[in-house]
Amino acid sequence: MENNDIAWQNELTRRARIYEDIEAGSRFEGVMTALDYAGMTALTLVLVIGFWIWGA
């Protein structure tokens, strides 16, 4: 049982270290950029304002 716990903690540490390495090297793939957030904001505003004017 104790061996299993140690093995599981080692596995969690291994996984956490992988993410720490990715973060340290700024190697996250598919990160949301300023362009994504600008596009999201523009899309939301266009839909809200456009449909407000059309429907309300």
């Binding site: 969690l12 993410y19 990160v31 939301t44 809200v48 407000w52 059309w54 429907g55």
Partner: protein
């Protein structure tokens, strides 16, 4: 000798493979962060999954509820406005961090509410709400089955009869069976059912438009507007749809962690959840107003005739089950994380079944709950909108989009997310403020509202108030006390 060495090596390799498969299964269930290489879903697969989640009969039913307040033109506007705001804010609060770190939503929530506080949030946001949703969706499934049996036999439907109860119980048990097989079976279910349901909505829209022109439909009045003030009716309709958008908060984070990266975790929500939900609600709205009946299990039989009606009801019944499978899976993944060691020790299939016991009881002993669907939905937004506000502020503005995966999964008693006895009083206070603001601005039970409701809605002030309180108090008090490892 050589054979012995080779045999030993093979045994070691086999053990390593078994361990790797075991750890991956644990990670899929949320016990550990999923590594990028282990994630299942790309953009389209997550879009299908989201569509399947959004396209259930709840979309039809919400559309019908909107038709009570406003006519189709205002209703379509309210559906688009409410859903896009609700879905975008909810996705920002949940899917970006899950997509980046592959982390289970309620483990990540330890950084906002503490390791015991996240349990409280789980109980409020998931256990109560998901059990309620499972029961409501199962009853919709049951009514669909009852409706199609009545249609095929040429009899009148009995939506509260024994057939409905048996079918509802069957839906919950079948959902349990599907989810017990793991996320791969849900993925298969989504990939098959979701495209078929998009097609069904197109057919329904075509049938509605073949009976009346779009212009005639837009000119139809609301079914039962509660106020003389049309602007107030419109804002209530927007609020219903904000509630629908925010209602994804407990679920999409744990689905998003199965995607390959952050961008694929976020954008499919706009296409899948917003697009599919808006389409389904618009179909429900147009049908409800055109046929004077908000229950989809009834208007489908009226609009399409017996044969197409049976096929449509069958599709819709199983669409409900895909949604049930998705919310059950995400809820249990969360439950295993917030629960104690003894909860985590319960086998996957058993814990799933135990979670289904209360929904089964509701279906059998409290079928009236189905009729309270609309009020139930709007109440959920008091909580979910505040949670979204806190999540966005904490992850983006207080932590700069960085989570400590090691500390979140490590021992919590002396870790940085201990806060105060495992509770972050700031996060919980902000949550309470958000809920209070919501109910003061708009009471879902009575529909009474402050004058500001007409200009601000209730979900948006609740979201902003909760986020602002969380930000200000964290800046003022958390860092000095060393709470929460804020940078």
């Amino acid at each position: 000798m050589t054979d012995d060495v080779a045999h030993d090596r093979l045994a070691v390799i086999e053990t390593e493979r078994t361990d790797a498969a075991f750890y991956r299964a644990c990670a899929e269930r949320g016990d550990a962060p999923l590594l990028p290489s282990e994630r299942l879903w790309g953009f389209w697969e997550f879009t299908y999954a989201n569509s399947a989640l959004a396209i259930a009969t709840w979309a039809f039913l919400i559309g019908g509820a909107v038709g009570l307040f406003v006519g189709p033109k205002e209703g379509i506007a309210a559906i688009v406005i409410g859903n896009i705001i609700g879905v975008v804010l909810t996705a920002l609060a949940t899917t970006t961090m899950s997509g980046r770190y592959g982390i289970e939503q309620f483990i990540a929530l330890r950084s906002q509410f503490g390791y015991n506080g996240s349990r409280v949030v789980y109980l409020l946001a998931v256990v109560l709400l998901t059990m309620g949703w499972l029961a409501v969706l199962a009853m919709m499934f049951g009514r669909s089955i009852d409706g199609l049996m009545a249609l095929s036999a040429g009899e009148a439907a009995n939506p509260t009869g024994v057939k409905m109860t048996v079918a509802s119980v069957g839906a919950i048990l079948l959902t349990w069976f599907v989810v017990a097989k793991g996320p791969t079976s849900i993925k298969f279910f989504n990939m098959v059912v979701s495209p078929a349901l998009v097609l069904l909505m197109g057919v329904m829209l075509y049938l509605i438009l073949s009976q009346r022109s779009f212009g005639e439909l837009l000119a139809l009045p609301a079914l039962a507007p509660p106020f003389e003030d049309n602007t107030l009716n419109f804002i209530v309709a927007v609020e219903v749809n904000l509630a629908a958008g925010f209602s994804w908060w407990p679920y999409i984070g744990n689905l998003a962690r199965l995607t390959k990266n952050e961008r694929r975790a976020f954008w499919p929500n706009v296409l899948g959840i917003f697009g599919a939900a808006a389409l389904g609600e618009i179909v429900g709205l147009l049908a409800a107003v055109a046929l004077g009946e908000s229950d989809p299990t009834i208007w489908m039989t009226k609009i399409a005739g017996p044969i197409i009606g049976i096929v449509a009801l069958l599709f819709v019944a199983f669409a409900n089950m895909t949604s049930m499978a998705n919310i059950l899976y995400t809820s249990i993944v969360g439950l295993r994380q917030v629960g104690t060691a003894s909860v985590r020790a319960i086998p996957w299939g058993t814990i799933l079944f135990l979670f289904c016991v209360i929904p089964l009881g509701l279906v059998v002993f409290y079928p009236q709950m189905y009729d309270g669907f609309f009020i139930f939905l709007v109440w959920t937004s008091a909580l979910n909108s505040a949670l979204a506000g806190i999540g966005i502020v904490d992850y983006f503005f207080l932590r700069g989009q960085k989570l400590d995966v090691r500390s979140l999964h490590g021992p919590q008693q002396n870790g940085p997310y201990r806060f105060w006895a495992g509770f972050n009083p700031i996060g919980l206070f902000a949550l309470a403020i958000g809920c209070i603001v919501y109910v003061v601005v708009f009471n879902p039970q009575t529909l009474a509202s402050l004058p500001a409701f007409k200009y601000l809605t209730a979900s948006i002030p609740a979201c902003v108030a909760a986020g602002a309180v969380h930000y200000a108090l964290t800046r003022l008090f958390a860092r000095g006390r060393g709470w929460g490892q804020y940078p």
